[in-house]
């Protein structure tokens, strides 16, 4: 069994921390991490709860492979009800925090209630305590990290924290761990801050020694690593260019969301691409990219570590940003770049640093700024509203200023912190919000990649690329190539991706492994580590079970099938350029088939038979 078998329950009302055994019956059904934590949330909370009330819970959960030697086995997820969407929120993060938590002997931490005063949780193996957070409340994540490291006089502690944005109520605040890895989406950081929890500090020295079949585990994980190493994507493309290699690809196929998705191609894409990050700059001859970095146990190492041009306007008088840190990933580059029509790589890197420093989801932040820019250009938002910021598409200074204000929750940053949906509603143009269920889109325009329209519309946490990444097939040819402009077969494709992802997200592994691994590679690793006879089929079923449980929760929360839709712009306004020119997204051709494949009613409600079959 490679579950630790133990949960830490933190009652913030009472200020108590209590260990309890992990529900192994549920673990057999939901594996761990995303699935298992969702089960706990569903069992323990009312789906109608106000996300920011003490009655909501926040769960940090590892998977059974978290902390092991399986490649990428360092993930953890944060599960709660999201303030941005009112739906289930489930954000996954890498870095080193999750593994440390597991090494301290915990599968999960469940936060419930609300602390009367700001606190942080300190966990050192079996010892756990809530400590007043007076000296870190009001500080950024980076400052918090430094203060806590010094305070505990321990270089080996791992920290997950929220920044000032979360404290100020920004609805898409992230929980940032290890300085630049984040449980980024859906406002899980906002929930944490609403509970007056500033940070979680973990030091684990117990390790994991309860692998079910150690010899088999060694063998299968080694074989699986070989598969990653020999695969061109995970062995070469991702480590070299990171996710940012997609910038030019997606632009070329005409699916690059640009200027709040008015356009599907960005003329400046190549300047902010993975390739551009390698170009030496004029000032000091150094490229933006310093190196690639890995999360815990990851043999792919796709992470970008970058620096900003020291002479760039954003940091001219700010020496504190003249060092390397987590650099642009594709989603951030898109959301901060093409969606605002900005091709200034350093400005993007700066804005991205600020997103990490103060815990903003760069996708939601960028997309919200893009919506505001469109409203500004329409004259709906004025200079007065923005406090003097010339909020036009292409204005890098405006982006930098917006990032500073939103990170700190000041001035117009407070409005931007509401997210695109509320911002557009506030200014009377709800249709200009590029969101599903209140969550901003990621980097693929569903007019140019039809299947992604279905994936966005049906994602349980609002628009998201990581629930069912049909791009892999439609664009990249993984595992096989499909035509991005047709809708036929996409329902099946999206469902398969969604279910497989549900399983991977519950295991402790990174979903990026699936560019090379199938469940045939993953199942033996889980099976060697855990009791339960984990086959690929069983994993697929776990994924489907998780998906349906999330769906059921959402419906009970009031997020029904009528929210499975896309903004009007994507359904009605045709793409102006590229292969999809003249085309909108044809969700209506895919959705009914999808419902039927899922065993749901035409309204998108899982039938009793489906739920029974899956044991939900």
């Amino acid at each position: 069994m490679s579950w630790a078998g133990k949960i830490l329950r933190v009652n913030l009302n009472a200020g108590t921390v209590t260990p309890e055994p992990l529900n192994m019956e549920w673990a057999m059904q939901y594996l761990g991490q995303r699935g298992l934590a969702t089960k706990y949330l569903v069992e323990e909370t009312d789906p109608k709860v106000d996300p920011l009330s003490p009655d909501n819970k926040l769960i940090m959960a590892t998977g059974p492979l978290t902390g092991t030697m399986a490649s990428t086995g360092g993930r953890y997820s944060v599960i709660t009800k999201g303030p941005l969407t009112g739906a289930i929120a489930c954000s996954n993060s890498g870095g080193f925090f999750g593994a440390e938590l597991k090494h301290a002997g915990w599968d999960m931490i469940i936060f419930e209630g609300r602390s009367p005063k700001p606190v942080y949780l300190y966990v050192e193996d079996d010892h756990a305590e809530l400590i007043p957070a007076d000296e870190i409340w009001g500080k950024s994540v980076w400052e918090t990290d430094q203060i806590l490291h010094e305070k505990h006089a321990d270089p080996l502690i791992r920290i997950a924290a929220v920044g000032r944005a979360a404290e100020k109520g920004c609805l898409y605040a992230a929980i940032v761990n290890d300085l630049h890895r984040a449980a980024g989406r859906s406002g899980v950081g906002t929930v944490m801050a609403s509970k007056q929890v500033k940070a979680v500090v973990v030091r684990g020295t117990k390790g994991i020694s309860n692998i079910r079949d150690p010899e088999a585990f060694e063998e299968v994980t080694e074989a699986a690593k070989k598969v990653l190493a020999e695969n061109a994507v995970t062995g070469e493309g991702l480590p070299k260019y990171g996710t940012q290699v997609l910038m030019n690809v997606i632009n070329e196929i005409g699916a690059m969301p640009t200027r709040n998705m008015r356009d599907v191609q960005f003329e400046g894409a190549s300047k902010i691409s993975g390739e551009a990050m390698y170009e030496p700059r004029e000032s000091d001859g150094k490229p933006n990219l310093v190196t690639n970095g890995a999360c815990f146990g990851c043999t792919i190492a796709c992470g970008r570590i970058s620096t900003i041009d020291p002479t760039h306007f954003t940091i001219k008088d700010k020496p504190q940003y003249r060092h390397a840190s987590g650099g642009l990933e594709y989603e951030a580059a898109w959301a901060l770049g093409s969606d605002e029509g900005i091709d200034d790589l350093d400005a993007l890197t700066y804005a991205n640093f600020l997103c990490n420093e103060d815990g903003l989801d760069p996708i939601s932040f960028g997309a919200t700024v893009a919506a505001a820019m469109e409203l500004y250009e329409m004259g709906v938002i004025t200079r007065e509203d923005t406090g003097g910021i010339e909020l036009k598409f292409g204005n890098a200074e405006a982006l930098a200023r917006c990032a500073e204000l939103t990170a700190r929750g000041e001035g117009f940053g407070q409005v931007l912190g509401l997210g695109s949906k509320r911002l557009c509603e506030k200014y009377g143009h709800p249709d200009l919000s590029m969101t599903v269920k209140g969550q901003e889109f990621p980097a693929y325009d569903p007019r140019g990649i039809q299947g992604m329209g279905l994936a966005y519309a049906t994602s349980n946490r609002g628009a998201c690329h990581l629930r069912g990444y049909s791009v892999a097939s439609e664009v990249l040819g993984i595992p096989y190539k499909t035509d991005p402009l047709v809708t036929e077969g996409k329902a099946e494709l999206v469902k398969a991706f969604q279910d497989a992802t549900g399983a991977v997200d519950s295991s402790g592994l990174c979903v990026f492994t699936t560019f090379a691994w199938t469940l045939e590679d993953i199942a033996p690793q889980i099976d060697a580590a855990c009791e339960g006879n984990w086959t690929p089929e069983k994993l697929q079923e776990v994924g489907e079970r998780v998906w349906n449980l999330e769906r059921k929760y959402n419906i009970e929360a009031g997020i029904t099938g009528k929210y499975d839709t896309l903004p009007k712009r994507l359904l009605k306004e045709a793409a102006k350029t590229g292969p999809a020119k003249g085309m909108a997204n044809r969700l209506d051709e895919m959705l009914p088939e999808y419902y039927s494949l899922r065993g749901w009613t035409p309204d998108g409600v899982p039938t009793p038979e489906t739920l029974q079959r899956l044991g939900v």
Binding site: Q146, H149, A153, P155
Partner: protein, 423 residues
């Protein structure tokens, strides 16, 4: 060439081994006055706690170790005089042993504090294996024991006694524990820790008398101020003195310990000294002092051997350093832990977790340090100090976060981007 070594502690044994390595033909005689095979005082506390048996304290484990190396070992043999003019030593039984080169590695002995009643039965230092045995049989669980002295050795003995479950009182003249190894903050933290673990620590006081006992106990220790502590056993750990007694009339000059030059030679040609008895060169100050610690004894032994064998290897000085485990709280100190005039220092304290780091700099070089509750990679403090490595930008970084020692060392010694480092 015949080498004679007096003292079969670590300095003597290591010297003998290095002599053999350096000079395969030489005769080597190693004389120890205790009846045991060469053993380590460092290991005594672990013997006391029952972690190891007597054999576990032995410096060398295989029975034929010295035979195999062609080193003649004579234990239970006391040297009574040295006669440099004739190049021989005189033994207790009147016999003589000739030498070409002589190494004095006679170690040190516990000082007896001038306290009335100190000579009574039940009052003992914890220094020899024999004394260890006596303490092991006398210190029963829950019986009251008074430990006089909370210096380095006192604190090691403290650990062993507390683990035996005795009711322990510690009496220290200084205002904190290990006053000569740590500053107020660290020594104070250590005291708090011991008290938390149930040891009563009395500082800034001394025993004024040891009387015969009351309440069914063998002894009673009277403290300055009048308090009286019951005791079944009193253990003294109030410092050690170099064993220089047999040098009288030999012409070998003695200050605190035996005076030696950089080649480990005493004032008398052909006679060398090493270990606790030697007043050797201190790395940090360049001055000569008695360090009386295991790593110094080992280094002295090695260097003395090389020089005795005819190599000219000057001693660069040994870094003074200590590591202590006090009821699970591990502390260490290195070099000029108290700092130098005009130098900077960095300090990090986490009182609730009993963690403390203190670094002392001279310009951008590390000259000393103290760690409490931190054991990871602490040896690098030794390396940074001894290499006198200019830290450059890393000094500022260490000032901000003194726990980044290992990073500082790596960044200053290796090119992180290009160089291939072989291990």
């Amino acid at each position: 060439m015949r080498h004679l070594i007096i003292g079969a502690g670590p300095a003597g044994v290591i010297a003998a081994e290095h002599l053999r390595e350096t000079d395969p033909q030489a005769g080597i005689l190693l004389i120890g006055d205790e009846p045991e095979p060469p053993y380590s005082r460092m290991a005594l506390p672990y013997y006391l706690t029952g972690n190891i048996d007597e054999r576990g304290t032995h410096l060398r484990k295989s029975a034929d170790h010295f035979d195999r190396l062609g080193i003649e070992l004579r234990t239970g043999t006391r040297v009574t005089a040295i006669e440099p003019a004739d190049k021989h030593v005189r033994l207790e039984d009147g016999r003589e042993e000739a030498y070409d080169r002589l190494l004095l590695a006679t170690g040190s002995s516990p000082a007896t504090p001038p306290i009335p009643g100190i000579e009574q039965e039940g009052v003992t230092p914890c220094w020899t294996l024999e004394q260890g045995r006596a303490i092991a049989s006398g210190a029963r669980p829950d019986s009251p024991v008074v430990l006089l002295g909370a210096g380095f050795i006192g604190s090691i003995v403290l650990e062993a006694l507390a683990r035996r479950g005795v009711e322990l009182h510690v009496v220290e003249m200084g205002d904190r524990m290990v006053p000569r190894m740590m500053n107020e903050t660290a020594g104070g933290l250590l005291k708090e820790w011991c008290e938390k673990k149930g040891v009563k620590v009395h500082v800034s006081t001394r025993a004024t008398a040891i009387q015969s006992g009351r309440n069914g106990h063998r002894l009673a220790v009277e403290l300055e101020g009048g308090e009286v502590l019951d005791a079944d056993l009193v253990i003294t750990a109030t410092g050690v003195r170099p064993n220089t007694g047999l040098l009288e009339g030999s012409g070998v000059q003695v200050d605190q310990g035996i005076l030696i030059d950089r080649n480990m030679q005493t004032s008398v040609e052909g006679i060398y000294a090493a270990g606790d008895v030697a007043q050797g060169r201190d790395f940090s100050t360049g001055e000569y002092s008695v360090q009386a610690i295991q790593p110094t004894a080992a280094e002295h032994g090695r260097l003395a051997a090389l020089n005795m064998a005819g190599r000219n290897v000057p001693h660069q000085g040994t870094l003074n350093m200590n590591v202590l485990d006090t009821l699970g709280l591990i502390s260490s100190s290195f070099g000029l832990w108290q700092g130098v005039e005009g130098g900077d220092h960095a300090e990090l304290l986490n009182r609730p977790r009993y963690r403390y780091v203190n670094l002392q700099f001279e310009e951008d070089r590390l000259v000393g340090g103290t760690c409490l509750g931190l054991t990871e990679h602490i040896g690098v403090l030794h390396g940074l100090i001894q290499s006198r490595l200019p830290l450059g930008v890393w000094k500022e970084r260490l000032m901000q976060d003194p726990t980044r020692l290992m990073e500082a060392y790596l960044a200053c010694t290796q090119s992180l981007s290009a160089c291939k480092v072989l291990h």
